[in-house]
């Protein structure tokens, strides 16, 4: 009785694991799954594909070992009572088996470890953005995000700086390098749609970059009308604080507004014009 119950329990877990694995990784299969939001939100960055691929590759390895170990475990439990009168096999181990199941995972793990270094370096190493112009600053503060652009003179801290609260406006198809800072406690800059995460640490200025993929962007963006009557495109996604920063952590929400090139330029021009806006209707 107990034998069947335990066999059923472990088998159910095995089925659940296999099913959720396949269901959760099919997001990679194509844009028709884009609206299926139980799993990873679809990626719109140029570099996120490497992360997603690695997740799936490791996932396949995990799945193989998961199925293998569970089948043995279930088999052992299911076969439990058949030979209740005889003694169990008297063995203290098997040297060849030990070597086999040490060497095979070791090789697999080393391959996994070394093959991912390039992806990591390309995203996080400062070499990836050496010499690039700093286009903006993201400043975290309990419980707000604020953004600053250097304006036409390209220098921060001057009178033509552009400030934006909550909305981080970035152009599509353009490597956008920015600095991340915190004014008080730790925060974390997390944009799931852009596969972007970095803690903000008071006392540190951390360079980051993002690049929105034009094709992926085109699939999800909405049309907007610009001031001069032409059409631009826009995609707004959540910017989330992912490091505990106090009681209001849960509502430290920002937005990333990805704009097509013309829309971004129009936005910049609009912001620069605001500097001389006296507030009266024209």
């Amino acid at each position: 009785m107990m034998r069947l119950i335990v066999t059923a329990l472990f088998t159910a877990l095995l089925v659940l694991g296999v099913w959720t694995f396949f269901d959760s990784t099919t997001f990679l299969l194509g844009p028709e799954r884009a609206g299926y939001r139980w799993w990873w939100p679809t990626d719109v960055s140029t570099y996120g594909g490497g992360i997603d691929l690695l997740f799936v590759v490791i996932g396949v390895m995990i799945l193989v070992f998961f199925v293998l170990t569970y089948v043995v475990l279930i088999g052992a439990v299911f076969g439990a009572s058949r030979k209740s009168e005889e003694k169990a096999a008297f063995t203290h181990g098997n040297h060849k088996l030990e070597l086999l199941w040490t060497a095979v995972p070791a090789v697999l793990l080393l391959i996994i470890a070394f093959s991912q270094m390039q992806t990591w370096a390309a995203i996080k190493f400062r070499g990836a953005i050496a010499g690039e112009e700093i286009r903006a600053e993201a400043i975290a503060e309990q419980f707000d995000w604020r953004f600053r652009y250097p304006g036409t003179d390209g220098v921060f801290g001057t009178v033509d700086d552009i400030h934006s609260a909550t909305d981080f406006v970035v152009p599509v198809d353009d490597k956008f390098v920015f600095h991340l800072r915190s004014n008080d406690v730790l925060h974390s800059f997390f944009v799931p749609k852009l596969r972007l995460k970095q803690d903000a640490v008071p006392g540190m200025t951390i360079p980051m970059w993002l690049e929105v993929d034009p094709d992926r962007f085109a699939r999800e963006a909405q049309a907007i009308e610009l001031a001069d009557g032409s059409e631009g495109r826009e995609l707004v996604v959540d910017l989330i604080c992912a490091e505990l920063c106090g009681w209001g952590h849960y509502k430290m929400a920002g937005r990333v507004r990805m704009l097509s090139k013309n829309a971004f330029e129009a936005w910049m021009a609009e912001q620069e014009a605001l500097r001389f806006d006296n507030g009266e209707p024209e």
Binding site: T69, K87, I123, K197
Partner: protein, 604 residues
């Protein structure tokens, strides 16, 4: 007490493995016998009861967390009016931050570590190696009683101005060090640090004892390679504590100084300087914020707390190995690889702490080296799993409550261990860091793993502790429900994590990204309430069996290791006959004898 040949001796004085002759017989009073006892068995039980009481508290905190996540800002039934009279029975956001901070703290420092090393370390080490008691019985007693100030400070934290600590169990500065940063940092955090210091001192007293006792007091013939894996695991866990704990204690005191004497170890000064970017104005280069380094705390904290993760699982692995071998009636498969892999986990455990900090602003090149060591730690864990499977394969499994929980441990450790490979991968971690995948992972290891191993160990060694056996039917009912609901709670958290849901948020549904996750959270919460309620089967079984359970003899499981040679429960001084060890601890199904087990102490 089935056999109480009087063997009252000052513990720790005789040579191990011998019978202490009856030289001074004096009855200890109640206080010396049950309160300030130096007997390792009493101290072990004290740790066990303390740990189980805190398990209930930690569980209640978790239930409140689950209430908020399933139905944010709704009135909490029944106890809401007692806890939150001023907010209309609704959890406040600052109370929520305190909840998960205290849930983590209580479960790690007051439940898992005291249960594994405190309770089972104390109870099992002398019995399993054939010693009359610990090497330093008084230090042992002090070790338990250091928990008292720790508990007092922990409780004071709840009632201090501003409420309990609320910077997470990781206590990252500056949130934890600046009073205005969080209500819990006004004074609760100070009590938290004091509580941790005393818990650390308690663990230290235990660790010194375990290492000395295991190295010096083994019975004749008990070579290191004949020790049960439980003992190896406890030795390795004790060494981890000895090397890693001083770092946490020192770091805690530095944070305490930051808080009370306004030093600047971890807290940067000049935090806000008019939005000036140091790199755009040379005069301010590097000068915008100065002094303390928040990352230094993270390094020091994780230098202890990552090994602590292994302190929380290695003893569970050891006990599960013993229980599986005994109830599978088959020798453990690959004893030496089991020992070496535990040692490897512990060794590698010291060079992987940086994987908690991939996104912290630590140099990404350093992250790469931590990634490699972290991925490689999957190897000894895998070897252990394969050897457990080798043990059950072709065995004659007895599906007792103890065995069921041990198998549950293996099943869930597999899931928790495998998902760890995702976390070790730095690029994947960019997305999953601080999401519910992480929460799912470590709960599979610590709840599905360690807690199920603790249940298994209680079912298995209960006869030795109280001379009575726990009810098997209730035990099986307890296991089946617990297993179903545990997976209902924690498996689904993987899915939350894949959707990107981050931890420690009181109400994530305002984000468009997360709005659709509320029904899944509701399902998890219902499973969590059922899981908590289901433990009633364990509680009833535990107390009923303690007083009215079936009496059993010395060796109800027909096990091979030395503790089953002692009376159940063992008297003062443990053994009533001369002991010598002739073989390893797992001679089940041995062809040398007719029975299917050959105890370590028997001569053939």
């Amino acid at each position: 007490m089935s056999s109480t040949t009087a063997t009252h001796v000052a513990p720790g004085t005789g040579s191990p493995g011998t019978v202490r002759e009856h030289h001074e017989h004096h009855e200890l009073g109640f206080i010396r016998k049950y309160v300030f006892s130096t007997d390792h068995k009493v101290i072990g039980l004290q740790f066990m009861f303390t740990g189980l009481v805190f398990l209930v508290l930690g569980g209640l905190l978790a239930m409140a967390i689950r209430w908020q996540l399933a139905w944010p800002w709704t009135e909490m039934p029944v106890i809401g009016s007692i806890l939150f009279p001023h907010t209309g029975r609704v959890i406040t956001p600052e109370f929520y931050t305190m909840l998960f901070t205290m849930h983590g703290t209580v479960m790690i420092f007051f439940v898992i570590i005291p249960l594994l090393t405190g309770a089972f370390g104390n109870f099992l080490i002398p019995l399993m190696i054939g010693a009359p008691d610990m090497a330093f019985p008084k230090v042992n007693m002090i070790g338990y009683w250091l928990m008292a100030p720790a508990i007092v400070f922990l409780m004071l934290g709840f009632f201090s101005p501003g409420g309990g600590p609320a910077a997470g169990w990781t206590a990252y500065p500056p949130l934890s060090t600046i009073k205005s940063a969080a209500p819990g940092s006004i004074s609760g955090q100070t009590y938290w640090l004091l509580a941790l210091t005393f818990v650390g001192a308690s663990s230290m007293a235990g660790a010194v004892n375990y290492v000395t006792t295991i190295v010096k007091m083994r019975a004749p013939g008990m070579t290191m390679m004949r020790m049960p894996l439980t003992i190896w695991a406890l030795l390795i866990a004790a060494l981890l504590q000895l090397f890693a704990l001083p770092v946490l204690t020192a770091a805690g005191i530095l944070q305490l100084l930051d808080r009370t004497l306004l030093t600047g170890f971890f807290t940067p000064t000049n935090l806000i300087v008019n939005q000036i970017n140091p790199e755009s104005l040379d005069a301010f280069a590097g000068g915008a914020a100065a002094g303390g380094q928040p990352l230094l705390w993270q390094h020091l904290f994780w230098f202890y707390s990552h090994p602590a993760v292994y302190i929380m699982v290695v003893p569970a692995m050891g006990m599960a190995s013993d229980i599986i071998s005994t109830h599978a009636r088959k020798p453990i498969f690959g004893y030496k690889p089991m020992v070496y892999s535990m040692a490897a986990i512990a060794g590698l455990g010291f060079i992987v702490w940086g994987h908690h900090m991939f996104m912290s602003g630590m140099n990404p090149a350093l992250g790469m080296t931590f990634m490699v060591s972290t991925i490689m730690i999957a190897l000894p864990s895998a070897i252990k799993v394969f050897n457990w499977l080798g043990t059950v394969y072709g065995s004659r499994i007895q599906l007792t409550a103890a065995m069921l929980n041990a198998l549950g441990f293996v099943a869930m450790f597999i899931i928790g261990g495998l998902s760890g490979i995702w976390m070790a991968s730095t690029p994947v971690d960019i997305y999953i860091h601080d999401t519910y995948i992480i929460v799912a992972h470590f709960h599979y290891v610590v709840f599905g793993g360690s807690v199920f191993a603790i249940f298994a160990a209680i079912y298995h060694w209960f006869p030795k502790m109280f001379g009575r056996i726990m009810n098997e039917t209730l035990g099986k009912i307890h296991f089946v429900g617990s297993f179903i609901f545990t997976n209902g709670v924690f498996y689904m958290m993987h899915q939350l994590g894949m959707a990107g849901l981050m931890r420690r948020t009181a109400d994530p549904y305002d984000y468009e990204t997360y709005a659709h996750l509320q029904p899944l959270n509701e399902f998890i919460s219902i499973c969590a309430f059922c899981l908590f309620a289901w433990q009633i089967f364990f509680v009833v079984n535990f107390f009923h069996s303690m007083f009215w359970g079936k009496r059993v003899g010395r060796n109800p499981w027909k096990a091979c290791s030395l503790e089953w040679d002692a009376p159940s429960p063992p008297g003062h001084g443990n053994f009533d006959r001369r002991l010598a060890v002739h073989r390893g601890p797992y001679e089940y199904a041995s062809p040398e004898v007719d029975e299917d087990f050959l105890p370590q102490s028997r001569t053939v």
